[in-house]
């Protein structure tokens, strides 16, 4: 609901003390400010997790390298994975959702602004807790131990027997705490979408962005909760002498895997659906056409949501499940490829017959389409259980999921940054720097992740701090590492662009892209109350209707 406060902060005046501005930001319940806090938080952790990746790749640049010890390496890949998923990608996506959903549905804020703030701070605290392990985890072996059990922390490696000290506890607690934040945000998104739409905006007239985040929030509710349960069980084992995953007492290591992946698989759809949301808003605008097949896109999204709850054990094909169980999960995993493919075809059809403008947001979304296609197909390969018996737990899988998360999600996210930066800051970014970022990152991405498939096909498992020469892996690892530096350069250009443009960019105006959804009808940046008058809409593209009164959408939808 609307924040009743009429004393909104002054901007740009010298008399506004820094402490006051800091206080406003720390106590804010405004969805736009919380969105920006999430995004900045995520960018900071992107740099940290990126450095962890650089350390990993330098260590693996050649066989028997000794850039870091095995203990440090194992902490690096654990922290890299955990940070990227929980403290980079999830927060940045929640940030965009928080910022944009109320604007897109014609509301003044999210349904529960204080819950929103609480959720952000819980997530933030979780990240700090994870990194506090570097200094705080006094195990038997001395001070400062980050967790080193891998981001999925299989039992019984996480039992007190094999993980002495507190590093695993920091992992567990950090995720438990940030999980509460995720669930809070999901409750907020679901309630906002269901209860706060402006007059005329039925669910069928909502932007796809809102639909995709809505399904994403539903998945968070159903998926993060099992992780919460598993974390509590792990804490019972580690602190109260419980036996949930204690194989010596008859417990099962496999049941941890089931619980984790019941979270872990829908989690990747939590990550990818908002990426689809960005693409579904950007591609139509830069093709100058509406999204092709809106209802089918909604249907496919809902189908993906449901099916994603039934595929989890494709992460466990090598664990020794029965032939029938393996066969079932092959089928459900292949099934989910169908609605996913349908989405790619609909984006393709949106561009078809359009007038494509190659601004930076669109460049990233076009790359997203090609790369997500490839990622989906390597996913189909992995769904073939016998093939998975080779490819699983190898660098092929690492290449596959980075192809999805970097090639798909991150590219789409960069597109979103450039697309909505003018709205959030009021300034235009530098198109030249944007394109430089794109090319640097594209080259780096392909050098690293195309070639990363090869060592997997040649037998290189994952999570190894070094490897043997003479297995045919050396050259590919070298190329993979080189690509990382191009990506790092691209990210630096990106951050530089954001900063420079924020201070020196041209004024953007409310609608620099000639777009059609409600957020473009507000000033840039929008005032705290979003809309002076709550709009009424008649179609999926309210601004198209206003700009084209002779052939409005509602006549043809």
């Amino acid at each position: 609901m609307s924040t009743d406060s009429i004393t909104w902060p002054q901007t740009g005046t010298a008399a506004h003390p820094f402490v006051d501005r800091l206080h406003e930001w720390v106590t804010t319940v405004d969805h736009k400010r919380l969105g920006i806090l999430y995004i900045i938080y995520a960018l900071v952790f992107l740099l940290i997790a990126g450095i962890e990746a650089i350390v990993i790749r330098i260590q693996l640049i050649r066989p028997h390298n000794d850039f870091v010890s095995p203990q440090v390496f194992n902490r690096m890949f654990t922290m890299h994975g955990t940070t990227m998923i929980f403290f980079v990608v999830m927060p940045v996506l929640f940030g965009f959702a928080n910022y944009l959903i109320p604007l897109m549905i014609g509301a003044r804020d999210m349904a529960f602004p204080r819950l929103n703030a609480f959720s952000f701070w819980m997530t933030a605290f979780g990240g700090l807790l994870l990194y506090f392990s570097l200094v705080g985890a006094n195990g038997l072996y001395g001070a400062g131990n980050a967790p080193d059990v891998g981001w999925f922390a299989y039992a019984p490696l996480t039992s007190p027997t094999f993980s002495v000290g507190h590093s695993t506890d920091f992992w567990t607690l950090a995720l438990l705490v940030s999980g509460f934040g995720s669930i809070g945000t999901a409750i907020n998104i679901l309630a906002t979408v269901l209860c706060m739409r402006c007059p005329g905006m039925t669910l069928a007239k909502m932007p796809l962005f809102a639909w995709l985040n809505f399904v994403m929030a539903g998945l968070v509710i159903l998926a993060v909760s099992p992780l919460t349960a598993a974390q509590i069980m792990l804490l019972v084992d580690r602190y109260l002498g419980g036996h949930f995953f204690d194989t010596q007492a008859g417990g099962s290591a496999v049941i941890w895997m089931h619980f984790f992946w019941i979270f872990g698989h829908p989690e990747v759809y939590v990550l990818v659906l908002p990426a689809f949301a960005f693409a579904s808003e950007i591609i139509p605008v830069f093709s100058r056409k509406p999204i092709f097949g809106y209802s089918v896109m909604v249907g496919a999204t809902v189908a993906i949501g449901f099916i994603s709850m039934s595929v989890w054990a494709h992460h466990m094909f090598t664990v020794g499940m029965s032939a029938s169980a393996n066969t079932f999960f092959v089928l459900s995993t292949m099934a989910i490829a169908v609605p996913t493919g349908i989405k790619i075809f609909n984006w393709l059809a949106t561009m078809w017959g359009g007038k494509i403008e190659f601004k930076t947001p669109m460049l990233f979304c076009i790359a997203f389409l090609f790369q997500f296609l490839a990622a989906g197909l390597t996913g189909v390969m992995l769904s073939v259980a016998p093939f998975n018996w080779h490819l699983g737990n190898s660098y092929f899988v690492v290449a596959h999921f980075h192809y999805v998360i970097v090639g798909g999600i991150l590219f789409s996210l960069f597109g979103a940054f450039y697309y909505w930066f003018p709205k959030m800051s009021g300034k235009m970014y530098s198109e030249t720097l944007g394109k430089l970022h794109f090319w640097l990152f594209l080259i780096g991405f392909h050098l690293t992740f195309d070639f990363m498939h090869l060592p997997g096909l040649l037998g290189m498992p994952r999570r190894i701090y070094t490897y043997e020469p003479g297995r045919g892996w050396d050259t590919w690892n070298l190329i993979v590492t080189i690509g990382v530096f191009f990506q790092a350069a691209g990210i630096l250009v990106f951050l530089g662009n954001l900063l420079w443009s924020y201070f020196r960019g041209k004024t953007a105006g409310s609608d620099p892209w000639d777009a059609w959804t409600l957020e473009w009808s507000t000033p840039s940046p929008p005032p705290e109350y979003n809309f002076s008058v709550i709009p009424t809409v008649k179609s999926r593209r309210p601004l198209w209707d206003l700009k084209h009164p002779a052939d409005p959408d509602w006549k043809f939808e």
């Binding site: 203990q71 019984p156 020794g320 494509i356 090609f370 737990n393 297995r471």
Partner: protein, 351 residues
């Protein structure tokens, strides 16, 4: 306008990179056959690996075809429908959807899924439902942090780290069936040329089988993160002609070669903590935490493949395991130099 040039360059560059990658993959698959890559999954030498290979070629062909078609359509649309320099500024026709097209690109993928699924289900059954014939060699593999224990229950052999199996003639197969157990955390047995990987999970026995068609040494390594030295838990499978295998079994069954004189090294070995972890058949040493050392000298490597089995490496391993495998569970024994020499000499007698 800059956009137009970029679109061509995007398309061309993407095409170039993908063509290059696929060429590289194809070349890699062909040219990195042994010995350049002894762990190439596309060079199967045993029936399970061969079944997977056949299925994987089918899957690769289908996915490659899909990729080429959709990639081409995407590239075409990006080039053909770009905004031209002489654009009249009008919006293009606003098309909202098409039911026929949606049906088409739903039904075709479903059919492809059905085909892939049927092929997959068949191979799953072939591999997982195979039962051991009467002449199968039975092995129990027990995963430890960070080494492999092998027992041949029917043949009364206990050894470590280097698995010997007889070669299997496709006309008269003599497969080896392996039961997979774990003494501590999760591990995974992956020798790509022989079979897909199967995990070793405590309190969850698993089974796999291999029937290698060619003699030779097959390499692999642990493929489930098991702790600090997961990376150096290497696998070496020696596939031998039947008579050589039988001789190896005979030799492994013997107790440790002894001499009448109890050597200085044997005394050091048996009075320090060595016997807490290690076993030497026919002596008082019967620890099970570490590898069985009865026939240590019959192995080409030590520390689960991390180092060659030379006297220098052996001495170094006993003196300071962290120099070879930092984080392994073998403690540095803190022996005096002459004790170290003596123990090494003793171990060198364990053929």
């Amino acid at each position: 306008m800059r956009g137009g040039k970029n679109s061509n360059t995007v398309g061309v560059l993407q095409t170039f990179v993908f063509v290059l990658s696929s060429a590289v993959i194809a070349v890699a698959a062909k040219t990195t056959a042994p010995p350049l890559s002894p762990t190439n999954i596309f060079a199967p030498a045993s029936t399970p690996a061969e079944s997977i290979f056949g299925l994987s070629i089918f899957v690769l062909a289908v996915t490659a075809a899909i990729f080429v078609v959709v990639f081409t359509l995407l590239a075409y649309s990006v080039v053909k429908f770009r905004k031209r320099k002489n654009d009249d500024g009008r919006e293009p026709p606003q098309v909202y959807g098409s039911n026929q097209v949606e049906v088409a690109w739903t039904v075709i993928p479903i059919l492809i899924v059905v085909a892939l699924f049927m092929a997959t289900a068949r191979v799953i059954a072939d591999i997982q439902k195979a039962s051991p014939p009467a002449n199968a060699i039975e092995v129990v593999a027990i995963g430890h942090q960070f080494w492999w224990e092998y027992r041949y229950p029917g043949l009364h052999v206990v050894t470590a780290n280097e698995l010997h199996v007889p070669v299997s003639d496709p006309q008269h197969p003599t497969p080896t069936f392996i039961k997979l157990l774990s003494a501590d955390t999760d591990h995974s047995f992956w020798v790509p040329r022989l079979a897909g990987k199967t995990d070793l999970i405590p309190n969850h026995p698993n089974h796999m089988w291999i029937d290698p068609h060619e003699t030779g040494l097959y390499l692999g390594q642990c493929a489930q993160y098991c702790g600090t030295q997961h990376a150096k838990m290497l696998l070496r499978v020696y596939v031998q002609p039947r008579d050589e295998f039988d001789r190896w079994i005979q030799q492994q069954r013997e107790p440790a070669s002894t001499s009448d004189v109890v050597s200085e090294g044997q005394r050091v070995f048996q009075t320090t903590a060595c016997i807490n972890c290690h076993a030497v058949a026919g002596t008082v040493a019967n620890g099970r935490f570490g590898p069985d050392l009865t026939h240590l000298m019959s192995r080409e490597t030590i520390a689960a493949g991390a180092a060659l089995n030379t006297p220098e490496n052996l001495r170094l391993w006993i003196q300071k395991p962290d120099a070879i495998k930092p984080g392994s569970l073998m403690p540095a024994m803190e022996l005096a130099d002459h004790e170290l020499d003596a123990v090494t000499a003793y171990l060198e007698t364990l053929r």
